[in-house]
Amino acid sequence: MLCPPRTTSASEGGKHSTFLRLNLRARRDILGQLSSTSSAYVLFETMKRLTHFPFSLMLPLFVLAASSESVQAQTYGSDFHRVTVSVATITLLQTNVGSVSLSITGSSVIAGQDLMTVSDQSSTLLWGTNSSGKKVTVRTSLATPKYSLRVAAISPTSGTAASEVALSTAAADFLFDIGRSSGSCAIRYTALALASQGTGSDAHTVTFTITNQ
């Protein structure tokens, strides 16, 4: 009358289907038993066979357990895209002041000495370049100056200062090895005049350039 216990298969799917079959058979047997046996026995047998019944109630639990396997695997899903970072060649150079004036007056003149000089270190050169192998050159727009004007880089934060140079229309080295850096240096101008040159003035437009080294 009772469904004999059945050997379940090794797989989880086999177990599930076996439970279902057990349950269905149990229900049919329970109904059959009720029609042909005394009430007390029916009650006893029914209660005993209902021990099979939790299998049907456990179906949702099996489903839940199966669906939760993916949860226990932790990852629900992923997606990706590509992000490109492009950096242009950037080369920047600027001075912090628009104009510098150097004046040789009587106060800086030494009696009996022909050469008169005056210096200015009030301006700063700033640069930034992300290219390698770069240097800074300097030149003036004034082709025939009456007086000499010299320039030098002082205390550069990166790169190497060139020697002080007399400005001309030909570019001269001012700073070496500034490639891929951001920095600054003071600009020192020195004007030289001979007493024998008399009075006058020169107006220079000084151009700094970052160029390949």
Binding site: I30, T46, V63, V71, T75, S78, D79, V85, V87, S184
Partner: protein, 163 residues
């Protein structure tokens, strides 16, 4: 007696079946739909300007988004990148997060481990939501340029998982 027992048994079976169907439908709905999706396609960030004595100007991009579904339990989203030979800096931040808590901006570095991006995503209260991906690219002058070094191409992967 027979009818009562039969009715009880049948009722319990019907309920069990109904619960099973519901669970199966729920589980299939959750698993078949794409749990997470990057929208907006591939992105490019171009750094083109800077300051003398300073650094190049960082750029941002908010043209892509992330769409994700709620899961059966509390979940989180992580991010990682693969960018062999990386030269420049890239970070990503979640904006407009209403389901979960956005982490601070994540620096995307080649070889990084999965890093929390959005955490405490609830398992209830919504079906799916979309947030904005805010990428920020930066570089220093010392890091060079793409003409000499090439572009950084990141494969950025977002993963949703149980928390």
């Amino acid at each position: 007696m027979k009818q009562i027992l039969y009715s009880v048994i049948r009722l319990l079976h019907v309920r069990a079946l109904a619960v099973s169907v519901f669970v199966i439908v729920l589980a299939s709905e959750t698993s078949e739909a794409q749990p997470i999706e990057v929208r907006g396609g591939n992105q490019t960030l171009n750094i083109t300007s800077g300051f003398a004595g300073g650094e190049p100007v960082a750029v941002t991009n908010t043209n892509s988004s992330l769409r994700y579904r709620r899961q059966a339990r509390r979940s989180k989203i992580t991010v990682r990148t693969a960018c062999p030979g990386q030269n420049f800096n890239l970070s990503v931040e979640a904006q407009g997060v209403s389901r979960g808590v956005a982490a601070p901006a994540v620096q995307l570095i080649h070889g990084m481990l999965d890093t929390d991006f959005i955490v405490n995503i609830p398992a209830t209260g919504f079906t799916r939501t979309t947030i904005t991906l805010r990428y920020m690219a930066s570089a220093t002058f010392a890091q060079g340029n793409s003409a000499e070094l090439g572009n950084d191409v990141h494969t950025v992967t977002y993963t949703i998982l149980a928390q």
